[in-house]
Protein backbone atom coordinates (compact mmCIF):
# COMPACT_ATOMS: atom_id res chain seq x y z
CA UNK A 1 0.00 0.00 0.00
CA UNK A 2 1.19 3.45 -0.84
CA UNK A 3 0.17 5.02 2.45
CA UNK A 4 0.44 3.89 6.03
CA UNK A 5 -2.52 3.05 8.23
CA UNK A 6 -3.24 5.49 11.08
CA UNK A 7 -1.96 4.15 14.37
CA UNK A 8 -4.93 5.40 16.44
CA UNK A 9 -8.63 5.90 16.16
CA UNK A 10 -10.97 3.73 14.16
CA UNK A 11 -9.30 1.37 11.76
CA UNK A 12 -9.72 1.48 8.03
CA UNK A 13 -8.78 -1.44 5.86
CA UNK A 14 -5.68 0.21 4.45
CA UNK A 15 -3.49 -2.83 4.71
CA UNK A 16 -6.07 -5.28 3.53
CA UNK A 17 -4.69 -7.70 0.96
CA UNK A 18 -5.52 -7.09 -2.66
CA UNK A 19 -5.84 -10.83 -3.06
CA UNK A 20 -7.21 -13.46 -0.79
CA UNK A 21 -4.05 -15.56 -0.84
CA UNK A 22 -0.37 -14.76 -1.33
CA UNK A 23 0.88 -15.35 -4.89
CA UNK A 24 2.44 -18.71 -5.50
CA UNK A 25 6.17 -19.05 -5.95
CA UNK A 26 7.46 -19.38 -9.45
CA UNK A 27 8.39 -22.98 -10.05
CA UNK A 28 10.24 -22.31 -13.25
CA UNK A 29 13.88 -21.37 -13.24
CA UNK A 30 14.90 -20.07 -16.67
CA UNK A 31 18.62 -20.81 -16.42
CA UNK A 32 20.91 -23.79 -16.37
CA UNK A 33 24.67 -24.23 -16.44
CA UNK A 34 26.07 -26.17 -19.35
CA UNK A 35 29.62 -26.19 -17.99
CA UNK A 36 32.74 -25.99 -20.11
CA UNK A 37 35.51 -23.46 -20.24
CA UNK A 38 37.02 -20.97 -22.68
CA UNK A 39 40.16 -18.89 -22.75
CA UNK A 40 41.62 -16.19 -24.94
CA UNK A 41 45.11 -14.82 -25.41
CA UNK A 42 46.09 -11.94 -27.69
CA UNK A 43 49.51 -11.59 -29.26
CA UNK A 44 51.31 -8.99 -31.34
CA UNK A 45 49.47 -9.82 -34.56
CA UNK A 46 47.06 -12.58 -33.61
CA UNK A 47 44.37 -13.53 -31.13
CA UNK A 48 43.70 -17.05 -29.99
CA UNK A 49 40.44 -18.25 -28.51
CA UNK A 50 40.13 -21.77 -27.17
CA UNK A 51 37.31 -23.74 -25.60
CA UNK A 52 36.42 -27.31 -24.79
CA UNK A 53 33.58 -28.94 -26.71
CA UNK A 54 31.73 -30.64 -23.87
CA UNK A 55 28.16 -29.69 -22.95
CA UNK A 56 26.84 -30.83 -19.57
CA UNK A 57 23.67 -30.89 -17.49
CA UNK A 58 24.57 -31.66 -13.91
CA UNK A 59 26.52 -34.90 -14.00
CA UNK A 60 25.31 -35.78 -17.51
CA UNK A 61 27.27 -35.14 -20.66
CA UNK A 62 24.80 -33.80 -23.21
CA UNK A 63 27.28 -33.85 -26.05
CA UNK A 64 30.97 -34.31 -26.57
CA UNK A 65 30.91 -32.00 -29.59
CA UNK A 66 29.18 -28.72 -28.77
CA UNK A 67 31.52 -25.87 -29.82
CA UNK A 68 31.53 -22.67 -27.77
CA UNK A 69 33.54 -20.56 -30.21
CA UNK A 70 31.94 -18.81 -33.17
CA UNK A 71 32.89 -16.72 -36.17
CA UNK A 72 31.04 -13.41 -36.16
CA UNK A 73 29.84 -11.50 -39.21
CA UNK A 74 30.89 -13.90 -41.96
CA UNK A 75 28.80 -14.68 -45.01
CA UNK A 76 27.34 -18.06 -45.88
CA UNK A 77 27.68 -21.44 -44.18
CA UNK A 78 31.46 -21.14 -43.79
CA UNK A 79 31.30 -17.59 -42.41
CA UNK A 80 33.43 -16.34 -45.29
CA UNK A 81 35.19 -13.07 -44.60
CA UNK A 82 34.70 -13.14 -40.83
CA UNK A 83 37.44 -11.40 -38.83
CA UNK A 84 35.91 -11.48 -35.38
CA UNK A 85 35.50 -14.47 -33.08
CA UNK A 86 33.34 -14.92 -30.02
CA UNK A 87 33.53 -17.44 -27.20
CA UNK A 88 30.59 -17.94 -24.84
CA UNK A 89 30.26 -20.19 -21.80
CA UNK A 90 27.62 -20.58 -19.16
CA UNK A 91 23.97 -21.10 -20.14
CA UNK A 92 24.15 -22.58 -23.63
CA UNK A 93 20.82 -21.26 -24.93
CA UNK A 94 21.67 -17.68 -23.92
CA UNK A 95 25.09 -18.11 -25.47
CA UNK A 96 23.57 -19.23 -28.77
CA UNK A 97 21.07 -16.35 -28.72
CA UNK A 98 23.79 -13.82 -27.97
CA UNK A 99 26.00 -15.16 -30.74
CA UNK A 100 23.21 -14.97 -33.30
CA UNK A 101 22.28 -11.44 -32.31
CA UNK A 102 25.86 -10.20 -32.58
CA UNK A 103 26.40 -12.04 -35.85
CA UNK A 104 23.29 -10.46 -37.36
CA UNK A 105 24.31 -6.99 -36.18
CA UNK A 106 27.76 -7.29 -37.75
CA UNK A 107 26.24 -8.57 -41.00
CA UNK A 108 23.77 -5.67 -41.16
CA UNK A 109 26.62 -3.27 -40.38
CA UNK A 110 28.49 -4.47 -43.46
CA UNK A 111 25.38 -4.13 -45.59
CA UNK A 112 24.65 -0.62 -44.39
CA UNK A 113 28.20 0.73 -44.29
CA UNK A 114 29.89 -1.29 -47.02
CA UNK A 115 32.81 -2.19 -44.76
CA UNK A 116 33.61 -4.53 -41.90
CA UNK A 117 32.89 -3.52 -38.33
CA UNK A 118 36.03 -2.91 -36.27
CA UNK A 119 36.63 -5.19 -33.28
CA UNK A 120 36.48 -2.14 -31.06
CA UNK A 121 33.00 -1.21 -32.29
CA UNK A 122 31.86 -4.80 -32.14
CA UNK A 123 33.18 -5.09 -28.59
CA UNK A 124 31.21 -2.07 -27.45
CA UNK A 125 28.09 -3.28 -29.23
CA UNK A 126 28.36 -6.64 -27.47
CA UNK A 127 28.55 -4.81 -24.16
CA UNK A 128 25.30 -3.00 -25.04
CA UNK A 129 23.64 -6.26 -26.03
CA UNK A 130 24.47 -7.73 -22.65
CA UNK A 131 23.50 -4.63 -20.68
CA UNK A 132 20.24 -4.43 -22.62
CA UNK A 133 19.20 -7.48 -20.67
CA UNK A 134 20.51 -6.16 -17.36
CA UNK A 135 17.40 -7.24 -15.49
CA UNK A 136 17.08 -10.67 -17.14
CA UNK A 137 20.69 -11.28 -18.06
CA UNK A 138 22.28 -13.55 -20.56
CA UNK A 139 23.90 -16.00 -18.14
CA UNK A 140 27.14 -16.15 -20.04
CA UNK A 141 30.77 -15.19 -19.82
CA UNK A 142 31.81 -13.90 -23.22
CA UNK A 143 35.23 -13.33 -24.76
CA UNK A 144 35.58 -11.49 -28.06
CA UNK A 145 38.69 -11.67 -30.23
CA UNK A 146 39.96 -10.05 -33.40
CA UNK A 147 42.57 -7.81 -34.94
CA UNK A 148 42.38 -4.10 -34.09
CA UNK A 149 42.77 -1.13 -36.44
CA UNK A 150 46.55 -1.13 -35.90
CA UNK A 151 46.86 -4.79 -36.84
CA UNK A 152 47.42 -5.91 -33.26
CA UNK A 153 45.68 -8.81 -31.57
CA UNK A 154 42.63 -7.62 -29.63
CA UNK A 155 40.82 -9.45 -26.86
CA UNK A 156 37.81 -8.28 -24.89
CA UNK A 157 36.19 -10.05 -21.95
CA UNK A 158 32.72 -9.52 -20.50
CA UNK A 159 30.68 -10.25 -17.43
CA UNK A 160 27.06 -11.39 -17.88
CA UNK A 161 25.67 -7.83 -17.78
CA UNK A 162 28.08 -6.19 -20.17
CA UNK A 163 30.95 -4.82 -18.12
CA UNK A 164 33.94 -5.24 -20.41
CA UNK A 165 37.65 -4.66 -20.71
CA UNK A 166 40.40 -5.17 -23.26
CA UNK A 167 42.99 -7.60 -21.93
CA UNK A 168 46.01 -9.69 -22.85
CA UNK A 169 44.40 -12.87 -21.66
CA UNK A 170 41.29 -14.16 -19.93
CA UNK A 171 39.81 -17.49 -18.94
CA UNK A 172 36.07 -17.96 -18.58
CA UNK A 173 33.59 -20.61 -17.51
CA UNK A 174 33.67 -23.58 -15.23
CA UNK A 175 37.44 -23.91 -14.99
CA UNK A 176 38.21 -20.18 -15.13
CA UNK A 177 39.43 -20.20 -11.56
CA UNK A 178 41.82 -23.00 -12.46
CA UNK A 179 43.14 -21.53 -15.68
CA UNK A 180 43.30 -17.80 -14.90
CA UNK A 181 46.10 -17.96 -12.29
CA UNK A 182 48.13 -20.08 -14.69
CA UNK A 183 47.63 -17.44 -17.38
CA UNK A 184 48.55 -14.61 -14.98
CA UNK A 185 51.80 -16.36 -14.32
CA UNK A 186 52.62 -17.53 -17.84
CA UNK A 187 51.30 -14.65 -19.97
CA UNK A 188 51.64 -11.59 -17.74
CA UNK A 189 54.56 -13.13 -15.77
CA UNK A 190 52.92 -12.41 -12.42
CA UNK A 191 55.07 -13.47 -9.50
CA UNK A 192 58.05 -13.90 -11.79
CA UNK A 193 61.15 -11.89 -10.95
CA UNK A 194 64.59 -11.38 -12.39
CA UNK A 195 66.88 -13.78 -10.50
CA UNK A 196 69.32 -12.03 -8.20
CA UNK A 197 67.80 -8.58 -8.74
CA UNK A 198 67.40 -8.00 -5.04
CA UNK A 199 65.51 -9.01 -1.92
CA UNK A 200 61.87 -8.42 -1.00
CA UNK A 201 60.52 -5.20 -2.53
CA UNK A 202 63.73 -4.66 -4.47
CA UNK A 203 63.00 -7.68 -6.66
CA UNK A 204 62.54 -6.66 -10.29
CA UNK A 205 59.48 -8.08 -12.00
CA UNK A 206 60.19 -10.03 -15.16
CA UNK A 207 59.46 -7.87 -18.17
CA UNK A 208 56.26 -8.73 -20.05
CA UNK A 209 56.82 -9.39 -23.75
CA UNK A 210 54.37 -10.43 -26.46
CA UNK A 211 54.41 -14.20 -26.86
CA UNK A 212 54.85 -16.07 -30.11
CA UNK A 213 51.91 -17.84 -31.63
CA UNK A 214 53.39 -21.30 -31.24
CA UNK A 215 54.22 -20.67 -27.61
CA UNK A 216 50.69 -19.44 -26.92
CA UNK A 217 49.29 -22.57 -28.54
CA UNK A 218 51.35 -24.66 -26.14
CA UNK A 219 50.08 -22.64 -23.17
CA UNK A 220 46.50 -23.14 -24.32
CA UNK A 221 46.93 -26.89 -24.60
CA UNK A 222 48.61 -27.11 -21.20
CA UNK A 223 45.85 -25.03 -19.65
CA UNK A 224 43.13 -27.31 -20.99
CA UNK A 225 44.79 -30.67 -20.38
CA UNK A 226 45.27 -29.55 -16.78
CA UNK A 227 41.73 -28.18 -16.43
CA UNK A 228 40.35 -31.48 -17.72
CA UNK A 229 42.13 -33.31 -14.93
CA UNK A 230 40.66 -31.13 -12.20
CA UNK A 231 37.20 -30.18 -13.46
CA UNK A 232 34.50 -32.69 -14.37
CA UNK A 233 32.64 -30.30 -16.70
CA UNK A 234 35.64 -29.80 -18.96
CA UNK A 235 36.80 -32.30 -21.54
CA UNK A 236 36.09 -34.24 -24.76
CA UNK A 237 37.52 -31.86 -27.35
CA UNK A 238 39.58 -28.70 -27.65
CA UNK A 239 38.50 -26.14 -30.22
CA UNK A 240 41.01 -23.42 -31.04
CA UNK A 241 40.36 -20.42 -33.27
CA UNK A 242 43.20 -18.15 -34.33
CA UNK A 243 42.52 -14.77 -35.96
CA UNK A 244 45.22 -13.09 -37.93
CA UNK A 245 45.15 -10.47 -40.64
CA UNK A 246 44.69 -13.32 -43.13
CA UNK A 247 41.56 -14.69 -41.53
CA UNK A 248 40.52 -17.34 -39.06
CA UNK A 249 42.10 -20.75 -38.64
CA UNK A 250 40.39 -23.51 -36.69
CA UNK A 251 41.75 -26.62 -35.05
CA UNK A 252 39.89 -29.26 -33.08
CA UNK A 253 41.87 -31.81 -31.10
CA UNK A 254 40.83 -34.48 -28.60
CA UNK A 255 40.77 -34.06 -24.84
CA UNK A 256 40.12 -36.79 -22.27
CA UNK A 257 36.53 -38.02 -22.23
CA UNK A 258 36.34 -39.08 -18.57
Amino acid sequence: MAFAAPDHGPGYSFTSPTTASAPKQHGFYPYTDNGGSILGISGADFTILAGDTRSTSGYNINSRMAPKLFRIGGEGPDATGARIILGVVGFGADGAALKERLDTIVKIYRYEHGKDMSVKACAQRLSHLLYGKRFFPYYTHAILGGIDEEGKGALYSYDPVGSYEREQCRAGGAAASLIMPFLDNQVNFKNQYVPGSGEGHDLKAREVVPLSRNYVMELVEDAFTSAVERHIEVGDGLQVLVVTENGIEERISPLKQD
Binding site: E75, G76, T80, E100, T104, K107, I108, Y111
Partner: protein, 250 residues
Protein backbone atom coordinates in the same frame (compact mmCIF):
# COMPACT_ATOMS: atom_id res chain seq x y z
CA UNK B 1 -7.99 20.79 -73.18
CA UNK B 2 -8.16 17.09 -72.57
CA UNK B 3 -7.45 16.06 -69.06
CA UNK B 4 -7.26 12.52 -67.79
CA UNK B 5 -9.51 12.36 -64.72
CA UNK B 6 -8.59 8.82 -63.83
CA UNK B 7 -4.92 9.16 -62.94
CA UNK B 8 -5.09 11.02 -59.65
CA UNK B 9 -4.72 7.97 -57.50
CA UNK B 10 -3.96 4.32 -57.79
CA UNK B 11 -7.32 3.11 -56.56
CA UNK B 12 -9.53 4.35 -59.40
CA UNK B 13 -10.09 2.46 -62.62
CA UNK B 14 -10.52 4.33 -65.85
CA UNK B 15 -13.66 3.43 -67.86
CA UNK B 16 -11.37 1.37 -70.06
CA UNK B 17 -10.34 -0.70 -67.06
CA UNK B 18 -6.91 0.79 -66.61
CA UNK B 19 -5.17 2.12 -63.51
CA UNK B 20 -3.07 4.97 -64.80
CA UNK B 21 -0.94 5.50 -61.70
CA UNK B 22 0.23 1.93 -61.93
CA UNK B 23 1.00 2.31 -65.60
CA UNK B 24 2.95 5.50 -64.91
CA UNK B 25 4.98 3.58 -62.32
CA UNK B 26 5.75 1.12 -65.08
CA UNK B 27 7.03 4.06 -67.13
CA UNK B 28 9.45 4.96 -64.34
CA UNK B 29 10.96 1.52 -64.77
CA UNK B 30 11.35 2.09 -68.49
CA UNK B 31 13.29 5.26 -67.79
CA UNK B 32 15.81 3.50 -65.58
CA UNK B 33 18.98 2.27 -67.20
CA UNK B 34 18.90 -1.23 -68.55
CA UNK B 35 19.55 -4.41 -66.55
CA UNK B 36 19.76 -7.97 -67.81
CA UNK B 37 19.31 -11.30 -66.05
CA UNK B 38 19.96 -14.83 -67.31
CA UNK B 39 19.95 -18.25 -65.68
CA UNK B 40 21.55 -21.48 -66.78
CA UNK B 41 21.11 -24.89 -65.17
CA UNK B 42 23.87 -23.99 -62.72
CA UNK B 43 24.32 -20.24 -62.57
CA UNK B 44 22.42 -16.98 -62.37
CA UNK B 45 23.84 -13.78 -63.77
CA UNK B 46 22.76 -10.15 -63.50
CA UNK B 47 24.33 -7.43 -65.62
CA UNK B 48 23.53 -3.74 -65.42
CA UNK B 49 24.37 -0.46 -67.05
CA UNK B 50 25.10 2.21 -64.47
CA UNK B 51 24.36 5.84 -65.13
CA UNK B 52 25.85 8.88 -63.52
CA UNK B 53 23.66 11.92 -63.21
CA UNK B 54 26.51 14.19 -64.25
CA UNK B 55 30.14 13.87 -65.14
CA UNK B 56 31.40 14.51 -61.63
CA UNK B 57 28.89 12.40 -59.75
CA UNK B 58 29.21 8.80 -58.75
CA UNK B 59 27.44 6.06 -60.61
CA UNK B 60 24.05 4.80 -59.48
CA UNK B 61 23.86 1.47 -57.67
CA UNK B 62 22.28 -1.07 -60.00
CA UNK B 63 23.03 -4.49 -58.53
CA UNK B 64 22.44 -5.04 -54.82
CA UNK B 65 23.56 -8.20 -53.06
CA UNK B 66 20.82 -9.29 -50.66
CA UNK B 67 22.00 -12.54 -49.18
CA UNK B 68 24.87 -14.87 -50.00
CA UNK B 69 22.73 -16.80 -52.46
CA UNK B 70 21.02 -14.00 -54.34
CA UNK B 71 20.88 -10.38 -55.34
CA UNK B 72 18.73 -7.90 -57.24
CA UNK B 73 19.23 -5.60 -60.17
CA UNK B 74 17.04 -2.53 -60.39
CA UNK B 75 15.64 -0.21 -63.01
CA UNK B 76 13.80 2.89 -61.91
CA UNK B 77 13.76 4.79 -58.62
CA UNK B 78 16.82 3.70 -56.69
CA UNK B 79 15.39 4.86 -53.39
CA UNK B 80 12.32 2.67 -53.81
CA UNK B 81 14.64 -0.20 -54.62
CA UNK B 82 16.47 0.48 -51.38
CA UNK B 83 13.27 0.15 -49.42
CA UNK B 84 12.52 -3.15 -51.13
CA UNK B 85 16.05 -4.49 -50.83
CA UNK B 86 16.17 -3.63 -47.14
CA UNK B 87 12.94 -5.54 -46.68
CA UNK B 88 14.26 -8.49 -48.65
CA UNK B 89 17.46 -8.51 -46.66
CA UNK B 90 15.56 -8.41 -43.39
CA UNK B 91 13.30 -11.25 -44.45
CA UNK B 92 16.28 -13.29 -45.62
CA UNK B 93 18.07 -12.85 -42.32
CA UNK B 94 14.90 -13.77 -40.48
CA UNK B 95 14.58 -16.95 -42.52
CA UNK B 96 18.17 -17.89 -41.68
CA UNK B 97 17.67 -17.16 -38.01
CA UNK B 98 14.38 -19.00 -37.54
CA UNK B 99 14.92 -21.98 -39.80
CA UNK B 100 18.66 -21.96 -40.47
CA UNK B 101 18.13 -22.05 -44.21
CA UNK B 102 18.47 -19.65 -47.15
CA UNK B 103 15.39 -17.79 -48.29
CA UNK B 104 13.48 -19.38 -51.13
CA UNK B 105 13.57 -17.07 -54.14
CA UNK B 106 10.01 -17.61 -55.32
CA UNK B 107 8.91 -16.92 -51.76
CA UNK B 108 10.72 -13.58 -51.43
CA UNK B 109 9.71 -12.53 -54.95
CA UNK B 110 6.07 -13.20 -54.15
CA UNK B 111 6.38 -11.39 -50.84
CA UNK B 112 7.53 -8.13 -52.42
CA UNK B 113 4.88 -8.69 -55.08
CA UNK B 114 2.28 -8.70 -52.32
CA UNK B 115 3.69 -5.51 -50.83
CA UNK B 116 3.67 -3.78 -54.21
CA UNK B 117 0.11 -4.86 -54.89
CA UNK B 118 -1.11 -3.33 -51.63
CA UNK B 119 0.24 0.02 -52.84
CA UNK B 120 -2.00 -0.24 -55.87
CA UNK B 121 -5.18 -0.87 -53.93
CA UNK B 122 -5.05 1.47 -50.95
CA UNK B 123 -5.91 5.12 -51.11
CA UNK B 124 -3.12 7.54 -50.30
CA UNK B 125 -0.34 5.19 -51.30
CA UNK B 126 1.82 5.22 -54.37
CA UNK B 127 3.14 2.27 -56.32
CA UNK B 128 6.85 1.54 -56.20
CA UNK B 129 8.60 3.25 -59.08
CA UNK B 130 11.07 0.49 -59.60
CA UNK B 131 11.36 -2.84 -61.38
CA UNK B 132 13.62 -5.55 -60.08
CA UNK B 133 15.32 -8.63 -61.41
CA UNK B 134 15.73 -11.03 -58.49
CA UNK B 135 18.27 -13.65 -59.26
CA UNK B 136 20.12 -16.36 -57.40
CA UNK B 137 20.34 -20.00 -56.45
CA UNK B 138 18.14 -21.71 -53.85
CA UNK B 139 17.44 -25.34 -53.00
CA UNK B 140 15.50 -25.75 -56.24
CA UNK B 141 18.37 -24.42 -58.37
CA UNK B 142 19.03 -21.12 -60.13
CA UNK B 143 16.14 -18.69 -60.56
CA UNK B 144 15.37 -15.37 -62.14
CA UNK B 145 12.29 -13.37 -61.24
CA UNK B 146 11.05 -10.16 -62.77
CA UNK B 147 9.19 -7.79 -60.48
CA UNK B 148 7.11 -4.84 -61.68
CA UNK B 149 5.48 -1.99 -59.68
CA UNK B 150 2.04 -3.44 -60.44
CA UNK B 151 2.92 -6.33 -58.17
CA UNK B 152 3.47 -8.61 -61.10
CA UNK B 153 6.10 -11.26 -60.45
CA UNK B 154 7.16 -13.69 -63.15
CA UNK B 155 9.80 -16.34 -63.25
CA UNK B 156 12.01 -16.00 -66.36
CA UNK B 157 14.86 -17.83 -68.04
CA UNK B 158 16.29 -14.56 -69.26
CA UNK B 159 14.95 -11.05 -69.36
CA UNK B 160 15.77 -7.40 -69.32
CA UNK B 161 14.08 -4.29 -67.95
CA UNK B 162 14.83 -0.58 -68.25
CA UNK B 163 15.46 1.88 -71.06
CA UNK B 164 15.75 0.34 -74.53
CA UNK B 165 15.53 -3.09 -72.92
CA UNK B 166 13.58 -4.44 -75.93
CA UNK B 167 16.89 -4.69 -77.79
CA UNK B 168 18.38 -6.81 -75.02
CA UNK B 169 15.29 -9.02 -74.94
CA UNK B 170 15.57 -9.53 -78.67
CA UNK B 171 19.14 -10.73 -78.17
CA UNK B 172 18.07 -13.00 -75.32
CA UNK B 173 15.20 -14.50 -77.33
CA UNK B 174 17.52 -15.14 -80.22
CA UNK B 175 20.07 -16.95 -78.06
CA UNK B 176 17.71 -18.54 -75.56
CA UNK B 177 18.55 -22.12 -76.47
CA UNK B 178 22.21 -21.59 -75.56
CA UNK B 179 21.60 -20.47 -71.98
CA UNK B 180 20.56 -23.67 -70.20
CA UNK B 181 23.87 -25.46 -70.69
CA UNK B 182 26.09 -22.40 -70.75
CA UNK B 183 29.07 -22.13 -68.43
CA UNK B 184 29.38 -19.26 -66.00
CA UNK B 185 31.73 -17.41 -68.36
CA UNK B 186 29.47 -17.93 -71.37
CA UNK B 187 26.49 -16.74 -69.38
CA UNK B 188 28.28 -13.55 -68.38
CA UNK B 189 29.25 -13.03 -72.01
CA UNK B 190 25.62 -13.39 -73.12
CA UNK B 191 24.44 -11.00 -70.41
CA UNK B 192 26.99 -8.38 -71.44
CA UNK B 193 26.16 -8.84 -75.12
CA UNK B 194 22.48 -8.37 -74.41
CA UNK B 195 23.29 -5.30 -72.35
CA UNK B 196 25.43 -3.90 -75.13
CA UNK B 197 22.60 -4.31 -77.65
CA UNK B 198 20.49 -1.97 -75.56
CA UNK B 199 23.02 0.85 -75.54
CA UNK B 200 22.41 3.97 -77.57
CA UNK B 201 24.80 4.74 -80.40
CA UNK B 202 27.06 7.06 -78.46
CA UNK B 203 27.52 4.74 -75.48
CA UNK B 204 29.68 1.78 -74.74
CA UNK B 205 30.28 -0.59 -71.85
CA UNK B 206 33.23 0.39 -69.68
CA UNK B 207 34.61 -0.71 -66.34
CA UNK B 208 32.97 2.38 -64.88
CA UNK B 209 29.44 1.84 -66.06
CA UNK B 210 29.05 -1.94 -65.89
CA UNK B 211 27.99 -4.05 -62.92
CA UNK B 212 27.82 -7.81 -62.97
CA UNK B 213 26.40 -10.10 -60.27
CA UNK B 214 27.12 -13.81 -60.43
CA UNK B 215 26.06 -16.74 -58.27
CA UNK B 216 26.02 -20.51 -58.73
CA UNK B 217 28.18 -23.59 -58.96
CA UNK B 218 28.61 -23.60 -55.19
CA UNK B 219 29.94 -20.03 -55.08
CA UNK B 220 28.28 -17.25 -53.12
CA UNK B 221 26.73 -14.22 -54.82
CA UNK B 222 29.48 -11.92 -55.99
CA UNK B 223 29.17 -8.41 -57.31
CA UNK B 224 31.78 -7.36 -59.85
CA UNK B 225 32.41 -3.66 -60.40
CA UNK B 226 35.24 -1.46 -61.62
CA UNK B 227 38.43 -3.20 -62.71
CA UNK B 228 36.93 -6.59 -61.81
CA UNK B 229 34.65 -6.44 -64.85
CA UNK B 230 37.45 -5.63 -67.25
CA UNK B 231 38.36 -9.29 -67.97
CA UNK B 232 34.65 -9.98 -68.55
CA UNK B 233 34.33 -7.11 -71.00
CA UNK B 234 37.53 -8.20 -72.68
CA UNK B 235 36.38 -11.78 -73.14
CA UNK B 236 32.94 -10.67 -74.34
CA UNK B 237 34.03 -8.00 -76.82
CA UNK B 238 37.75 -8.57 -77.33
CA UNK B 239 40.59 -6.40 -76.13
CA UNK B 240 40.13 -2.64 -76.29
CA UNK B 241 36.49 -2.96 -75.39
CA UNK B 242 34.09 -0.56 -77.01
CA UNK B 243 35.77 -0.34 -80.36
CA UNK B 244 34.23 -2.54 -82.96
CA UNK B 245 36.77 -4.93 -84.35
CA UNK B 246 38.38 -3.39 -87.39
CA UNK B 247 36.95 -4.31 -90.69
CA UNK B 248 39.58 -6.24 -92.52
CA UNK B 249 39.72 -6.25 -96.26
CA UNK B 250 39.78 -9.70 -97.76
Amino acid sequence: MFRNNYDNDSVTFSPQGRIFQVEYAGEAVKQGSVVVGIVSKTHAVLAALKRNAEELSSYQKKVIPIDTHYGVALAGLASDARVLSNFMRQESLRERLTYGRPMNLSEIANRIGERAQINTQQYGRRPYGVGLLISGVDRNGPHLFEFQPSGMVNEMLATSIGARSQMARTYLEKNLDQFADATKEELIKHALSALKDSLSQDKELTVDNTSVGVVGGGDLFKLYEGQEVSPMLASAFGEGEGEESMEVDT
